[in-house]
């Protein structure tokens, strides 16, 4: 069974034809994404190669501090990338770090304490990556929603302030929309899981020869943990960010 999982260098090279197809479409339609495509492919190859060796080492030595260090790096990178979507929102990195750390940390603690996973690098590191990347996307979308709505709905917010609303009351609709936007991909994915897509973890287990009826147990766990983590991450990011659209005099910036 394991031999079926090995992708030979030749097979990888042939799979590169798919990238060539993407490049050809890009050139024919003048999409202007040639550089992005090439950079994306090169980065993916380098990053995954490095991570492959690092993970091999971490799994081999199997120490708590190295596992936690790897989780910290994942969280830092997720927060850094989420912050890039925040535009001019002040303190977005600290907010993102808080959101990703809390959501990832609490979910990991929960999963380990109910023995859904074990505290070993082979399980902790991939699960952390899965949670942190989803929280990163959720917070990034929530930031984008806040930025858009504080511009588009400025007259409404101003009107609420003029009526004597506090900042939370003036921003309530925008807060709700931002959290919903952040959670939307996870909820959509939860609704269509198994019908449209066989997600990564389940596919990986099936690839590895695990009985699909057992693989779904893990996927259900992943669905639960992602729903919890993205809602927590969006909640923290939005509630820490919306007051930053106002100044000390409780005026819109």
């Amino acid at each position: 069974m394991n031999s079926q999982l090995i992708v030979s260098p030749l097979a990888l090279l042939l799979a590169l034809i798919l990238v060539v197809i993407a490049l050809a479409i890009n050139l024919k339609e003048a999409l202007g994404m040639t550089q992005d495509l090439i950079v994306g492919v090169v980065r993916a190859v380098i990053q995954l190669t490095v991570v492959g060796f690092v993970l091999t080492y971490i799994i081999k030595v199997n120490t708590v501090w190295l596992t936690l260090a790897m989780v910290a790096i994942i969280i830092f990178n997720a927060a850094w990338n989420a912050k890039k979507r925040a535009g001019t929102i002040p303190d977005a990195f600290v907010t993102s770090l808080l959101a990703v750390t809390t959501a990832t940390g609490l979910t990991l603690i929960m999963l380990v304490s109910v023995r859904a996973i074990r505290f070993i690098p082979a399980q902790i590191v991939p699960i952390s990556g899965m949670i942190a990347s989803n929280v990163m996307v959720a917070t990034g979308l929530a930031y984008r929603s806040l930025n858009t709505e504080f511009t588009d709905l400025r007259p409404q917010v101003l009107e609420r302030l003029a009526l004597g609303a506090n900042l939370k009351q003036a921003s309530q609709k925008l807060i709700v929309n931002a959290i919903k936007t952040g959670m939307a991909p996870t909820i959509d994915s939860a609704k269509t899981v198994g019908l449209v897509s066989l997600p990564g973890m389940m596919s990986g287990l099936i690839f590895a020869g695990i009985d699909p009826t057992k693989a779904i147990m893990y996927q259900i766990m992943v669905t639960f943990m992602l729903l919890g983590a993205t809602s927590l991450g969006s909640f923290i990011a939005v509630y820490r960010s919306y007051p930053r659209f106002y100044n000390d005099q409780k005026q819109l910036r």
């Binding site: 609420r160 009351q169 409780k250």
Partner: protein
């Protein structure tokens, strides 16, 4: 004592001042109209009085104390700013009228809302109407009512009758007269010359300066 006292008040967010070195007293209980062309700084003045903006220099005293001495939320419940093109943010008229009650953690009595609608010549059945179907005049009346359920001490009115038909203008003027008689100070701005003959106290604002003052 005056409601507002402006001392050398300037508002210059860029190098060009929108309002420059304004000195002005606005007494309690007055019905004041400030006229001026578009861009003369009228709306900015109202937003400064409402603490939605802060002067770049000089001071605005409200009831003898600097605006900064007040909690902005409580201040804005006393000094209420009505925009020229009010944003209605509820799905229905009832949702919009409920907002002043919601922010004070109280329930809106339906009868009070229906009576308020009738007081501005709107049918009480309009309470459940979707706000997106309202005409400009209906929107403006609903928006004004939101400011009156918990009567403020000062109403700042930013061209609230501009673009409305004469009948609707008359209804709104009537409503505002009643508020003034109850003791609410009114400060209105307009660039509509047809409104000026109705002004009880008139000032003109030109290029950030009061040029002519005809206070009663």
């Amino acid at each position: 004592m005056n409601a507002f006292e402006l001392h050398h008040m300037t508002f210059a967010p860029t190098k060009t001042a929108i309002l420059n070195d304004i000195n002005l007293d606005i007494p309690w209980g007055i019905d004041l109209t400030i006229a001026g062309h578009s861009g003369s700084g009228k709306s900015t003045l109202l937003r400064l009085l409402a603490t939605l903006l802060t002067p770049t220099s000089g001071t605005i005293l409200y009831n003898g104390k600097p605006q900064s001495d007040y909690d902005p939320i409580l201040y804005r419940r006393e000094v209420s700013y009505c925009a020229q093109q009010p944003a209605l943010f509820g799905a229905t008229v009832a949702d919009d009228l409920r907002f002043p009650f919601t922010i004070r953690n109280t329930e809106m009595p339906r009868e009070q809302a229906e009576a308020a609608l009738e007081s501005v010549d709107l049918a009480k059945t309009m309470l459940d109407a979707p706000t997106q179907n309202l005409s400009g005049g209906e929107r403006q009346r609903v928006a004004l009512l939101r400011h009156l359920f918990f009567p403020p001490k000062v109403l700042l009115l930013d061209e609230v009758t501009t673009g409305l038909d004469p009948d609707t203008k008359a209804v709104i003027h009537n409503l505002l007269d009643r508020q003034n008689k109850k003791g609410i100070t009114l400060v209105s701005v307009t660039h509509d010359e047809s409104e000026l003959h109705m002004a009880k106290n008139l000032m003109t604002l030109v290029d950030g300066q009061f040029e002519e003052v005809t206070l009663a």
